[in-house]
């Protein structure tokens, strides 16, 4: 249906329609997202997302801050996954300035990134179930495990959430004593937790009824809209930047990319569970094979970095999808242009298509299944 037809058909029935505004303060909009919805009874006729309630001028600020000074800002993009954000930014700067990364640092990056993925997906499950109306139970189970991972981050980087860990050419600090053993212990523990969650959720009749066939996105449409990450793979498209680009040392690990078949909320939800298992495989291997050596390239310059003129795009597979940083340098100490490709924002483009024709209650679940973080959407 074209947009004019749509508007006409809406105005025709306008007597029966109800306009409601969900957000920016709404229990299920994951922050300050807002949706203007037009409802016919319980069915969504039209849905307009409204962005910008958390626009913190990230890109503008970055263009007047030094390259290194931007690192802490990237933490606050997708505030669940500060380490992957760090990595993506470091990767772009390394490409821009042509900096090599030592092996140990690459391994540490993989380990921290996969841990980030785990804690993100754990929290995702909790939030999704919260949106479905479980009174925080799954959320708290998820956060219980997440706290363990955050402990690892804290002992490694000094901060629970805003890690600011990666540096151009390596990582900021080496692992403390006993950290690897602790990480191994937690990796060994997690499969049990995942089994538990799977038992609790995947066969739950209400969860199945609420998610199957809701917000279905066919693979072709998903590709056209530029979706990435688990949302894309749930539609059955085999696209994972870790495999496609094999940045870092991902080519050394044996892992597979789970793919869904239908592309509805249930698939998106299941994919996260399956991805966590794959992440655990990577983690196990990486922790065992962690080589010794320097953690940062001694030749790499971090302070007062003035990369040669040019442009670079670095992308990684963040837990939410393809996270890319596009940088243009004019040889000065600050980026000339700094642009983030946030997976959450791009994944939101299909929100209206997913929601129209569904019930109001589904909108909430669909939004939850996309897994957005407003810090990244609005920047």
């Amino acid at each position: 249906m074209t947009s004019t037809e749509e508007v006409e058909s809406i105005s025709e029935k306008s007597e029966r329609l109800l306009n409601i505004s969900m957000g920016p303060q709404h229990p299920s909009t994951h922050g300050v997202f807002r949706m203007k919805a037009v409802l016919d009874g319980e069915t969504v006729v039209k849905l307009t997302p409204v962005f910008g309630y958390l626009h913190r001028n990230h890109e503008k600020l970055a263009e007047r801050t030094s390259y290194l000074g931007n690192m802490p800002y990237t933490d606050r993009l997708d505030y669940f996954c500060s380490l992957t954000n760090n990595w993506a930014y470091a990767l772009s700067v390394e490409r821009l300035a042509g900096i090599e990364v030592p092996e140990r640092a690459e391994y540490l990056r993989v380990i921290t990134a996969e841990l980030t993925r785990l804690q993100n997906h754990l929290a995702f499950l909790g939030f999704l179930l919260n949106d479905m109306g479980v009174w925080a139970t799954v959320l708290i189970y998820g956060f219980r495990e997440r706290e363990k991972i955050l402990d690892l981050f804290e002992s490694l980087t000094g901060a629970r959430m805003m890690c600011n860990y990666m540096r151009f050419g390596g990582c900021r600090c080496d692992v403390p004593d006993g950290w690897v053993e602790e990480a191994k212990r937690i990796t060994d523990e997690l499969p049990g937790v995942l089994d538990e969650l799977e038992q609790l959720l995947t066969d739950n009749e209400i969860v199945v009824a609420r998610t199957q066939g809701v917000g279905t996105v066919p693979g072709r449409k998903a590709i056209n809209a530029g979706l990435t990450g688990p949302v894309l793979r749930a539609s059955g498209v085999n696209y994972d930047v870790r495999k496609v680009d094999s940045y870092g040392v991902y080519d050394r690990f044996d892992f597979s990319v789970p793919l869904g078949s239908v592309g509805d909320c249930y698939d998106r939800f299941m994919l996260r569970l399956l991805e966590m298992r794959q992440s655990l495989n990577i983690l196990k291997a990486a922790l065992n094979e962690l080589p010794s050596g320097p953690i940062i390239n001694p030749k790499a310059k971090n302070r007062n970095l003035r990369p040669p003129a040019g442009e670079a795009y670095g992308r990684i597979e963040s837990p939410k999808g393809e996270l890319g940083f596009y940088l243009v340098s004019d040889k000065s100490g600050t980026p000339y242009r700094y642009r983030v490709r946030p997976p959450s924002l791009v994944n939101l483009t299909l929100l209206e298509d997913m929601c129209v024709g569904q019930k109001v209650a589904d909108v909430v679940v669909i939004l939850g299944s996309i897994d957005i973080i407003l810090g990244e959407v609005d920047r």
Binding site: Q25, G31, G52, Y53, R56, N57, F143, M161
Partner: protein
């Protein structure tokens, strides 16, 4: 008040315990602070974490996050307030029922934090609504939030309902609602609510 206190202590020596109505009133309020379910940015995640198993805000009777401002007692401004969001925050505050409290969580809510230099960030929510407790950090750890809430509880227990220095909600001269700022071209209009905040050159400051 001091005489009352002396009398109370003296009587307590003889086994007579007096409780002022005010104390009961404050005790009830302080132990049942229901926060507004309202997250702004990064700090919101730590706010959620403070409800979860390890930190358990519920021990203090505050785990009931009410999504409707009418039923909430405490507004935790958890994160960056942008110029687009500030009107909504003030509106939410106005919608809350007295007695109501505001906890500014994190650097952004206190002062704009790392994003203070940006063109779209409000430099502290205390410019628009009266903040009772500031919890610094970027983001503050859940323990810090718990500490802030415990401090708030103590503040509430000390509040007086009459006489000089009475609590804000008991004072008829103090407004219960504040002007909602609007988009005004360069900046929000008004730039701050004079009842609650003044720039330093006008004798403001904490």
């Amino acid at each position: 008040m001091t005489e009352d206190k002396q009398l109370q202590d003296e009587l307590a020596l003889y086994g007579v315990h007096l409780t002022l109505l005010e104390q009961v009133y404050n005790w009830g309020r302080s132990n049942s602070l229901w926060p507004l379910q309202f997250g702004l940015a990064c700090c919101a995640i730590e706010m959620i974490a403070s409800v979860t198993a390890r930190y358990d805000l519920g021990r203090f009777g505050s785990e009931i996050f009410r999504p409707s401002p009418r039923q909430a007692d405490l507004m935790i401004v958890s994160g960056t307030v942008t110029k687009k969001m500030a009107p909504q925050v003030v509106r939410l505050y106005n919608q809350m029922a007295e007695p109501k409290y505001v906890l500014a969580m994190g650097a952004c809510a206190i002062s704009g934090g790392p994003f203070k230099g940006g063109y779209n960030v409000v430099k502290g929510i205390d410019r628009y609504i009266p903040v009772d407790i500031f919890v610094p950090g970027c983001p503050p750890r859940p323990e810090a939030l718990l500490n802030g809430i415990i401090h708030l509880q103590e503040t509430i227990r000390r509040q007086k309902l009459s006489g000089p220095g009475k609590a804000r909600h008991a004072d008829r001269d103090q407004p219960s609602e504040y002007a909602i700022p609007e988009e005004g071209g360069r900046d929000l209009v008004p730039q701050y609510n004079a009842e609650t905040w003044r720039p330093s050159w006008q004798g403001g400051g904490k």
